[in-house]
Every structure is written in C-alpha cells, then in structure tokens.
C-alpha cells in the first residue's frame, strides 16, 4: 500500500477510447489581451486602446448571460502556466489531445472580430486571428486544423479573407455564427458562400453570435438555461433561411456544418418545412427541391450537445433520419458542457457507425488524410 498525495489531481483523462477520433469543435483562447498585436497593424493597437471593441449588443463587456463555469469552461482546464482555459497548446495536448486520442482537431475560435461594428477593425482582427491560429496552433501540432474566421457582416471583406486562405491546408472550414444581424440566408452573406464554395471549404455555423438580436424570437429571456436551449431555435431559423433563400440552389457545392446546436430538431424542422412548402411553393419558386432534400444533401452536424432522451432508441431513430454519415463528433473542449468521448454514445452502435461517427465522416468532409 502506498498513499500518493497530490496538491491538485491530475487532469481527468479518458480511458475508454482506444481508437483515434476527430474532435470537430475545439475552442482555442488567447493567453493575454495583447496576444494578437504581432498580427495587427500598429494603427489598430492604439485604436483598441482608445476606442475598444464594440459589438452589436448592449453589453460592452462580457457575455449577455452569466456562464455556468468561469469563462464558460471546465474548471480543471486552467493551464498550469496561467491564462484562461484553452490558451495553452502544451496543456491542451496533455489534458485533451493525447489522452483522448484526437487525430484531427478542428479549431473554432470564438470572441474574434466577428460581429464587431467597425467593419475595418472586424476584418483586421479576423485576419489576425487566422494568422494566430497558424502560428500558435496548427503549425505546432499537425493534428489541429483552423477555421477561417471572417468579418461576417461585411460580405466583401469576408470573401477576400476566404480567398486569401484558399488552398492553405492549415484551414479546413470557414466559421460563421448563428446569431447575426440578419438571418444567414440573406444576400449580404452570399459573397461568403461564393468564396467558400470556390475554395472548397465547408462552412461551420457555430451557435452563438453578436448580431444584437435576442437569443429567442420572443425577446431577451431571464436565464442562462434559456440561452442554452435558445441556440437550437436560433440555428433552426438560420437553417430555414439558408434553405428558403435558395443558398443551396445558388451554391450547389456548398457544404455546411451545424456546430453546437444539437441535432434532434433536424427531422421535425425538415418535416414542417416540407409540409408548408407543398402549400406555399409559389412564394419561393427558386427552390427546385423539397427543403428536406437540401438539408440532407448540404448539412453535417456536430455532436455536443447530443440530446439525451430517456430511451436510446429515440436517439438512434433521430440519428437514422439524419444519417450516421452526417454526424461529426465534437467535445467542445475546454468549455464546460464538454462531452467525454468514451461516454457520449450509448451502447448498441455498430462498429462501422462508430468509426464513421468518431473519425471517418470528419476526415472525409474536411478532406484530411
């Protein structure tokens, strides 16, 4: 018998996943406020100092809702060298990438320049974040791949940033958020879709955003728990807009990933859309197919959150509608609602489906060997 004492426990590590996995939603953070300075023109250093950053929301500082854990992140994910959770590559490797056998990790930096009202500043910060992803993350760990973040409210600058990164294998997708100034299908966003299709990059639409609109369609709710479920409602309106505005008709090779908004709602949204489409086709004659067909052909879904029905059969039925080939595993590391890879799927999934779910779908979609 030997009692070992530790000041802090070792970071909890997965024990249940033997095979390699893809994690399609990892959030890297900046260690310090000034970490982007090397990638930003001097003009912006003093601008930030003097004027700060103004998003399309009332709250100038911090998120509109309190988060469940500090920085909305796991309390055990603070790097030993200091800084917020997700800001240290070496600690991310030790706590997450290595023990969880992550073969491909897709970075989705949030709190970037997306949704900053000064469009020139938004473009400059987004571009800086993209340089920072290469220098701090993807060039240092080849398992990690970046998302091109763009000043989404300015379609022209966003498209230019996508073209600048096209063909750069550090990046595997373009990142948008679900809450924008207007619903995502509207024309101001089309230059983004055009450039992404041209570059062969899927578009990840991550829940959250800074469009200034409340999370629910009926106004600002009281609780964070309402924000948590509001993301899927918000994502539904974004997806309906994309379909109904004819984005997939206009950009037939465009692929989209719904990130962190659940997927249990997908069948019912498609059923509802198909039903009204049969009656209101004349309003949207630019659509050549049923809404559900666009959804099935163009949309992929990341897990985390996975809906958690009492009966696993209900979950499996939902997944069967979506297709086992359409789900991409994600942990959301280091955020507090993180999913542990070994615990995310109930028992009873075939080996082929598991393999697709954990790794192959992502490799194929993102074109990573």
């Amino acid at each position: 018998m030997n009692i070992q004492v530790r000041e802090r426990p070792e970071a909890a590590a997965s024990t249940g996943i033997k095979t390699a996995i893809a994690d399609c939603d990892i959030h890297p953070a900046r260690a310090t406020k000034d970490e982007l300075h090397p990638y930003l023109a001097k003009r912006w250093h003093s601008h930030l100092e003097t004027f700060g950053v103004h998003a399309y929301q009332g709250m100038m500082e911090g998120p509109p809702y309190p988060k469940a854990q500090p920085n909305a992140s796991r309390r055990d994910a603070y790097p030993p060298e200091g800084g917020p959770q997700g800001s240290s590559l070496s600690f991310m490797q030790k706590q997450h990438l290595d023990p969880n056998n992550v073969a491909l990790g897709v970075l989705n930096p949030l709190n970037t320049g997306q949704g900053i009202r000064n469009q020139d500043l938004a473009g400059a910060i987004c571009s800086a974040i993209n340089d920072w992803q290469i220098e701090k993350w993807t060039s240092k760990d080849l398992r990690l791949k970046g998302s091109v973040v763009v000043a989404n409210e300015d379609g022209v600058s966003a498209a230019a940033e996508i073209r600048k990164r096209a063909g750069d294998t550090n990046f595997v997708q373009v990142l948008l958020l679900s809450r924008n100034v207007e619903p995502l299908g509207q024309r101001r966003y089309w230059p983004i879709y055009e450039a992404a299709q041209e570059a062969g990059l899927p578009i990840g639409v991550h829940a959250f955003g800074f469009g200034g609109n409340p999370i629910t369609a009926s106004g600002w709710p009281s609780y964070y728990i309402e924000e948590m479920v509001g993301h899927s409602q918000c994502q539904q309106t974004a997806l309906a807009s994309l379909v109904l505005e004819g984005v997939f008709e206009r950009f037939p090779r465009l692929k989209m990933v719904m990130v962190e908004a659940g997927f249990g709602w997908a069948p019912s949204l498609a059923w509802r859309l198909d039903k009204v489409f049969a009656r209101l086709h004349a309003e949207v004659p630019h659509l050549k197919r049923k809404p559900s067909e666009y959804i099935r052909d163009h949309i992929w879904w990341t897990t985390q959150p996975v809906e958690d029905p009492e009966s696993r059969d209900h979950l499996f039925q939902t997944i069967e509608w979506i297709g086992w080939d359409r789900l991409l595993f994600a942990t959301d590391y280091p955020h507090w609602d993180y999913d542990e890879p070994s615990r995310v799927l109930p028992a009873g999934v075939s080996d082929a489906n598991r393999q697709a779910f954990y790794l192959d779908n992502a490799k194929q979609l993102y074109g990573v060997a």
Binding site: P9, E10, Y338, E340
Partner: protein, 137 residues
Amino acid sequence: MARHVIAPVDELPPGSRKFFEIDGRPIAVFNVKGEFFGLLNRCPHQGAALCEGPLIGLASSSDPGEIEYTKLGEILRCPWHGWEFDIRTGQSYCDPRRFRVRAYPVSVEPGTNVVKGPYVAETIKVAVESDYVVVDL
C-alpha cells in the same frame, strides 16, 4: 476494509482539501469547518475529477419566488457540467436515484490509537502526541 492514516490533522486545516491515491483509487478529503469528508474523485456522470469543483450551498425552492439557500459549503459542484453532490453522502441532486458518488468515512484519531493499529500508514510518520486523519476504505 482497511483504515488508512493519510495525514496529520494540521496538514488539512478547515477549508482545505487534499487529493490522494489510496489503494489505486483517486480520493479527495475535505475539511469543512472542522468536519472531514472523503469522496471518490470521479464524477459518475462523465468522469471529471469531481472534487476540483467549488463547494457551494443548495438553492431550493418550495414555490416560485421563494428561494432557500441551505447546506452552505456542503454541496460539491462538478467542474465540468455542474452536477451537484452532497459532500456528506455523495448523493447527487440532479438524479439522486441513478447517480451517487462513492463517499468514504473519514475520522480523526489520536496518535496513541494510530500507533496501536490496525492502521495502514506506510508513508506517514506517526507520533503519539498528534492527531491523524484516517480514511476507511
């Protein structure tokens, strides 16, 4: 079942917690205002190092608008998804029937007892004149 001497009492002052590996099991021992509690350091939900979470109280409500805050310092909140556990019993508050974290009895024994046995204390030097924290496994 063995009784493990894990530390002299003054190494675990009130408000502190320590993490141990005893017989291969990750266990955390807390001193809450002079009372000692031991829990398995693994969350039954998805396996987080549960005992790194903050100790909070229990907010409960008999009617909307009426909120009572009790058990201050006795509720452990998981560092991942925030499930709440009673540090005294290991009972979970979100799903008490299905989930519980293993709780281990912790006591304080005088050095005189510890020297006599039947305690396991290989890594701790035991002296008759101090008190020791003991975990039952």
